[in-house]
């Protein structure tokens, strides 16, 4: 703690020095919102053109706030946001000024030509490996069974890989799925997938914006070593009541938004539920799947209120659940398996003055898995999960036009439930309890965006993290109860780690259209999830760093070349990365699952490294727009206890990965979207030998991940028809017709082996069988809005 105090004192001094620098300067600040619904616009740009031709500018933060420090004088300030009409304000600056601006979306403008100058942030910022996708561009991507999926949209970006066919799990630059920090309105979402990851938990109608940071994580993020997926929910229309929804093959959606008080506050309520299996019940009845049912739902709630010019409060929540049920009355088998996430975030934005913006968040999030099964006399109940109580205190300090600082503290109390339950046979009860685990996670950070000169910009950051597992906890070195158990009392420290995490990013602008960037980031990850399969399952356990597991460490080195063409209509980037990962975790390949043993006893530890090149080209405007991305990558692992200690490719090592996404506006009513993806086949381990034991043939495996399944490629198309473009008509509807896997490629989902024939009849044969999942799937969705 003393170390932390020292660091904060230093930060404080630094801030004071920066604040007293300039004289006779004033600040222009305010919020930029969407004129139609009052939603704050994230990343909107604010700039002025100086007489010498140089631009001074900034962009809005997550809450739509900006602050710009200028010398006394007269200025034309331009406010712009992609897809929105520009606004230019002329001001005479001789005192601090608050200017709140609302921009009009191009589509609402009708006759007015959208001049919305494309921001050149990708060239100008120090951000490396950062991508922002607005919900509109996500919705234009063809979707599996018409279910718009924000996570799957990210999979089309270079450096990001899908966890598997139709899966919304992602691997970023050779990192595992547990190494991504998934946030929804600041709350961690521990299991971002429904139906084993085939759909993500984010209802696109409730989402405003998604940011992916795949390299060089800024210091305000931490706790994971691979990437950040930051999802921001819509705030709700604060001008008028709005309803939108859709009916699709798998699910239906309904979203309500309305002002609480016009211009001051609003709320949003969005729900989604599946019904495909409910409808299919009569069909399933006579099949082997009779008695099976499955559904999921999501509920997003958000409310916000602006109390004064300086204070705004947000309350947001997400509640989602998957439920699988099976019953076979004839044989007295019953099973219910619900799992899901809950997150609640309370945020308070406060403006101390035009230069100091504060956000305080209190967050509760909970991931729970439950299993309740019985067969005759035998009953089995188990639950697992993670629960966090989290508080964040963040300040954004617009110290001067050359320095923009962020600093804050982030504290989380984790409660881990690792397979706690009971089994019962007749009257005898068995304890199936590993015992809960508790931990404190604390971090303090500071970042400084420093414009050294027109050409040089540097972002330095430092994060100091601390993790402490605390009691009550019974430590069993051998994994066996009762043997050499060390008992820790409530709150007693079991083990503590400190992690200094320096981050740095540099930009050198060659000219207004080109820049070179470089960055380094070091991260610690204190909680872990290891999966034995290709996709994460709801049963996979999150476990804290403990006496048995050390924190994971990641070191990432990045360089990139960024170039915009034709007034930022075209963007191009090339990035190289090298990543080093320590204390990586896998399951031992000869593990024996013991129901009440701590799962950590089945872990083996090693190191990983990955490197690659990502090329990205994007056309941002026009009737025809889209992007193309290519990734060349290598991902390795080396574990003393796996593969005889030799290095092996990680499961998600993928040599080539190509994604193309295009949108074409045929006319003002018809929109065409298409994607094509290609990826080197996944690495997998194959059996190489068989032998006889007990007169049965058993299998021996070859080198780990030494085999590749065939390459994956697929094309999807979608056509959207928007019949009503008249702004005076409130009711608008659109029809979306999409085809998944247009040319019906039978991509291998997995390979399995089967033995046919009989050993004693002398006709036993072993075969390899490739299973592919989704053939060509057309789907239809109707969306409405009024």
């Amino acid at each position: 703690m003393q170390m932390l105090r020292l660091i904060f004192s230093c930060i404080f001094c630094f801030v004071i020095i920066l604040s007293v620098s300039a004289q006779n300067q004033f600040t222009v600040s305010g919020y930029i919102t969407d004129d139609y619904n009052g939603e704050s616009l994230i990343g909107a740009s604010v700039f002025i053109q100086q007489k010498d031709g140089k631009k001074i500018g900034t962009v809005t933060n997550t809450y739509g706030f900006y602050s710009l420090k200028l010398d006394e004088g007269k200025y034309d300030i331009q406010f712009s946001y992609i897809g929105y009409g520009n606004v230019v304000k002329t001001i005479q600056l001789h005192a601090d000024q608050r200017i709140n601006i609302s921009l009009i979306e191009g589509r609402q403008l009708e006759e007015i030509v959208v001049t919305g100058e494309r921001k050149d942030e990708n060239v100008k910022s120090t951000d490396l490996g950062k991508v922002e996708l607005g919900i509109e561009s996500i919705k234009s991507i063809p979707a599996l069974m018409g279910e718009v999926d924000v996570i799957k949209a990210l999979q089309l970006l270079p450096g990001v890989q899908a966890a598997g066919e139709g899966n919304s799990g992602i691997y970023v630059r050779g990192g595992g799925p547990d190494q991504n920090l998934v946030l929804l309105d600041n709350a961690v979402v521990y299991n971002p997938g429904h139906l084993f990851g085939f759909f993500s938990v984010f209802n696109a109608d409730a989402v405003k914006d998604v940011t992916l940071v795949k390299g060089g994580m800024p210091a305000n993020y931490g706790g994971r070593i691979s990437s950040v997926i930051d999802v921001a929910m819509k705030e709700g229309n604060n001008k008028k009541f709005e309803m939108e929804g859709g009916i699709g093959l798998i699910s239906s959606r309904l979203t309500l938004q309305a002002p609480i008080k016009k211009g001051k506050g609003s709320f949003l309520l969005a729900g989604r539920r599946t019904y495909a299996f409910d409808i299919a019940q009569p069909l399933l009845k006579r099949t082997d799947f009779g008695g099976t049912n499955y559904n999921f739902y999501d509920l997003n709630i958000k409310a916000n209120y602006t109390f004064s010019d300086k204070d705004r409060l947000f309350l947001s929540g997400y509640f989602g659940q998957d439920v699988f049920k099976y019953s076979n009355k004839a044989n007295e088998i019953g099973l219910k398996m619900p799992w899901g996430n809950t997150t609640t975030t309370l945020r308070w934005n406060h403006l101390f003055n035009s230069k100091l913006f504060m956000n305080v968040s209190f967050i509760f999030n909970d991931y729970k898995f439950m299993f309740d099964g019985n067969q005759l006399d035998f009953a089995f109940k188990i639950k697992s999960g993670v629960r966090d109580y989290n508080a964040k205190f963040n300040l954004e300090h617009y110290a001067s036009n050359k320095h923009q600082l962020k600093y804050g503290i982030d504290y989380t109390y984790h409660i881990f439930t690792p397979n706690v339950g009971t089994a019962k046979t007749g009257d005898t009860q068995f304890r199936l309890s590993e015992g809960m685990k508790y931990a404190h996670e604390l971090a303090g950070y500071i970042t400084d965006d420093w414009d050294i000169s027109e050409r040089f910009k540097i972002t330095t950051g430092f994060r100091l993290s601390m993790f402490q597992q605390v009691g009550p906890y019974n430590f069993m070195p051998n994994g066996v109860y009762g043997q050499d158990t060390i008992q820790y009392k409530k709150g007693q420290a079991v083990k503590t780690w400190w992690g200094p995490e320096p981050r740095i990013a540099l930009r050198y602008a060659i000219d207004g259209e080109q820049s070179i960037k470089a960055g380094f980031a070091m991260n610690y990850q204190y909680i872990h999830l290891v999966s034995s399969t290709n996709s994460t399952l709801p049963t996979d356990l999150w476990v804290p760093s403990s006496s048995l597991v050390d924190p994971q460490q990641g070191f990432q080195y990045n360089v990139g070349y960024f170039r915009n063409f034709k007034e930022n209509n075209y963007e191009f980037s090339a990035e190289l990365y090298y990543k080093n990962m320590k204390n990586q975790i896998e399951y031992a390949d000869d593990r024996i699952e013991i129901p009440n043993e701590e799962v950590e006893h089945s872990y083996v530890f090693g190191k990983g490294w990955s490197y690659g090149m990502e090329l990205f080209a994007k056309k941002t405007k026009g009737k025809f727009n889209g992007w193309i991305g290519y990734t060349l990558s290598y991902t390795w692992r080396k574990f003393p206890d796996l593969n005889s200690g030799k290095k092996f490719p990680a499961r998600y090592d993928r040599r080539h990965d190509i994604s193309i996404n295009v949108n074409y506006e045929i006319n003002d009513k018809l929109f065409l979207g298409g994607t094509w993806v290609y990826a080197t086949g996944n690495a997998t381990t194959l059996p190489i030998e068989k032998y006889l034991v007990d007169f049965v043939l058993v299998t021996g495996y070859g080198e780990r991940n030494a085999f590749r399944i065939p390459a994956y490629h697929r094309m999807d198309l979608s056509l959207t028809y928007k019949p009503n473009k008249k702004p005076e008509k409130r009711f608008k509807s659109e029809y979306n017709f999409s085809i998944y896997n247009v040319y019906n490629r039978k991509n291998t989902y997995f390979i399995y082996y089967k033995q046919d024939g009989d050993l004693l009849l002398g006709n036993l044969k072993t075969k390899a069988v490739s299973v592919s999942l989704f053939p060509i799937i057309p789907s239809f969705t109707w969306n409405f809005k009024f």
Partner: protein, 318 residues
Amino acid sequence: MRFNFLHIVLLFVLMMTACEKEITVHLPTPEDAIVVEGYIENDLPPYVYLTKNSAYFGDFDVNDLGEYFVKGAKITVSNGKDSVELMEYSSDLISLLPDSQRVELSKFFGIPLDSNMHLPDISVYTIPLNSTFVGEIGKTYFLRIEIGGKVITSRTSIPNPVAFMSLRENPHPNPKNDTLIQIIGHIKDPDTLGNFYRYFTRKNSLPYYTKGIETVLDDIFANGKEFDIQVPYGWDRYAEDQEFDVNTFGYWHKGDTCYIKLSMIDKASYEFWKTLENELRNQGSPFGSIQKIRSNINGGLGIWNGMGSTMNIYYSKK
């Protein structure tokens, strides 16, 4: 348990759309290895089978079974004090073995040695006819195999046997299957942790044990407890039309004489069978990760398995 159910769920999802096709996969050739399968049980002589591994995709022809058997090995079993060099009995010599041993062999390996069935060209190593070397409870047994200049070793022990306190039957829950019953064993686990069980089932005049799906159990969460456990009847591996049916698998028939051998085994043997059965279950399941089979054999694959066994019999009334 929960993982099996999860697999059902996932398969359910897959079945909605999935499609299969046979493919050709080119695999590297495995290194040659000797597979040991050896048992020593209380009051019974040791038996050892030696086989070779083979390439995964080769067809396995029972007529060539002999090619998989390793002959001419020098095998010694000792308990630290006494030792015996085992003798190799090829299929035509097995008939020389005393009846009691032949019966035990057939019970183990599922080859009805008394029948007129044509025996493949197999061989088994056991004590010479003039030896009385048998397993004793509580003793440790060392195995040493010399073959082609190579030495393979292992050790195992025979734990204290545990018997079922009682056996009873329960009717099948579905009245349609009123000829089927479940056998429930009542058992008291010894107080000390670290007891490992393996069970074998056969019934009536069947000369061999059926093949179970999950035949081993540890007492990690049942330590010292008295409890009921279902004893499912295994696969009759030579019966025709064997289809796995969740409604009938594991059930015995009314009127059966049910033989249940309960063997206490050591940890290494438990781990071998547990990982082997996991591996068999994972075969063909996309979601089971690879399961390497553990072994207590130094210099080879397989198992040297000590067993402290009891025979438990239940007579079901018609």
